[in-house]
Amino acid sequence: MTYLVSLLLIALIVGLVAVASNPAPYFAALGLVVAAGVGCGVLISHGGSFLSLVLFLIYLGGMLVVFAYSAALAAEPFPESWGDRSVLGYVVIYFVGVGLMMKFFCGGWYEGSWMIIDTFKEFSMLRGDISGVAMMYSLGGGMLVICAWVLLLTLFVVLELTRGLSRGSLRAV
């Protein structure tokens, strides 16, 4: 179990290195998909199954699909992958940097910290994170209303940014 979670954490770092070394956006989106998938695995192994499901649905299924469609705006005839010279330099530097930081900061395995939530609690139908999110609808209702207004505001922000013909917030469009 420890080894599985360690593999997922290493895959998270590798995925983010794949994004940060800035290849063509197709490959960076692939790296983000892998990183989000293993991030969901890390959350599941700590017992947060609902938060992992939310991450998969909203982040991968919503936001990254939109980014994948926007990658059509960044189309190149010869996209740079991670094997090309300039990108490979960044990949090597980032891996060496992470290795150095790991040498300084990582002390040990700390298996005692990898506990599943609600391990020693009473038996219940609901996991901890689900009932916590349900709190957002009861006591945290004000934050929910604010969040909904912010989302509506963002809709109008996007409308004004892309209105075009010098009538929106960017005169050049």
Binding site: V19, N22, L32, L43, G128, D129
Partner: protein
Amino acid sequence: MTPVHFSFCSAFILGLMGLTFHRTHLLSALLCLEGMMLSLFIALALWTLQFEMTGFSAAPMLLLAFSACEASAGLALLVATARTHGTDRLQNLNLLQC
């Protein structure tokens, strides 16, 4: 530092460095920003789970909602850039260059 703590901290720093040293495309900078948001979501969710503060599980959900707003604003700017300059390459954003 526990391995989990180290991994999402280094994921955030990697995304930040990818955003700082972006090279050609504006979209790859936005994707690095999304990577930072992913590491922040994982961090807040693990904070909730490891400290068993179940009432805090609303925080990663709200973070995800606000990061969706930010991603859509970034993509609107990308679309505006592609409309004026024809591409999102950063070397084309040189109107102010003498």
